[in-house]
Amino acid sequence: MTEGSTAGDGDVLPDADEDWTQAAQRHYDPEVEELTTAIIFTIADAAGVDPGEVKSPPLYECIDAPALENTFFGPNVVDVSRRGTGLVRFQYNHFLVTVRSDGWIRVFEPAEASSPG
């Protein structure tokens, strides 16, 4: 489980205790795809692999993406949430993923992976 990394608190920084570098981002459109798919495609982009190669663990085991999709992008809230600043973050393997209520999905990797830090 990835508890401890899921809170939002209006804080838009990925994590205050660690240096993270943004590796990929994607704007989610609820009318054309599922949030689950959009998140995995963004992670694949960050990892530099095809989305079909991102297999383990299933996102289902990390976060309830359909519930998040409904919370941020459901038909009854979408106009409100797009103006808000809701943020959920969780870890997927060594990546940190944030999903904002305005639709931006961002994937970060530890800064030391890409710089001498």
Partner: protein, 144 residues
């Protein structure tokens, strides 16, 4: 549920208001509705009516074909990949969780789980004619 007796007898599993008589191996009805509460999961369940063993890749192409209403051969790699990701990261693990499917990671093979029959019975009992096109696809009555 207003008319419990009708639904209960049609399901053929001896459902009744006496919950104590339901074996623990049988899903609560909430799980059945939850499992069938998304189009792609209904497609997945329908496919079990046609065949009992699939690979994830086969299912991704088949379900993408249904959603786009095109023959399986016309599904693009991108459409198949999107569906593959959706199934493998969301819908298949959920159905595995409820014992409706089994998934073998090494071969990516999918078969019916111990609770599959209960869900299929519910699917047929809940007026699946609303989904008759899907059902026809799933039963292989469509040329593709």
């Amino acid at each position: 549920m207003a008319d419990e007796s009708r639904d209960g007898s049609a399901a053929g599993h001896g459902y009744s208001s006496d919950t104590a008589s339901i074996p623990t191996s049988i899903l609560e009805i909430d799980h059945v509705y939850d499992a069938l509460g998304h189009t792609r999961r209904r497609y997945l369940c329908y496919t079990l009516l046609e065949d009992t063993e699939w690979t994830l890749d086969e299912l991704a192409r088949k379900i993408a074909a249904w959603e786009h209403d095109i023959p399986t051969d016309d599904v693009t790699d991108q459409q198949a990949e999107q569906m593959y990701v959706s199934l493998s990261h969301a819908h298949v693990p959920k159905l595995v969780d409820d014992g409706i499917l089994t998934f073998e990671e090494s071969t990516e093979g999918i078969t019916a789980g111990q609770n599959a029959q209960q869900v299929l019975t519910a699917l047929e009992g809940m007026g699946a004619s609303l989904d008759s096109t899907q059902e026809a696809h799933a039963r292989g009555e469509r040329d593709d």
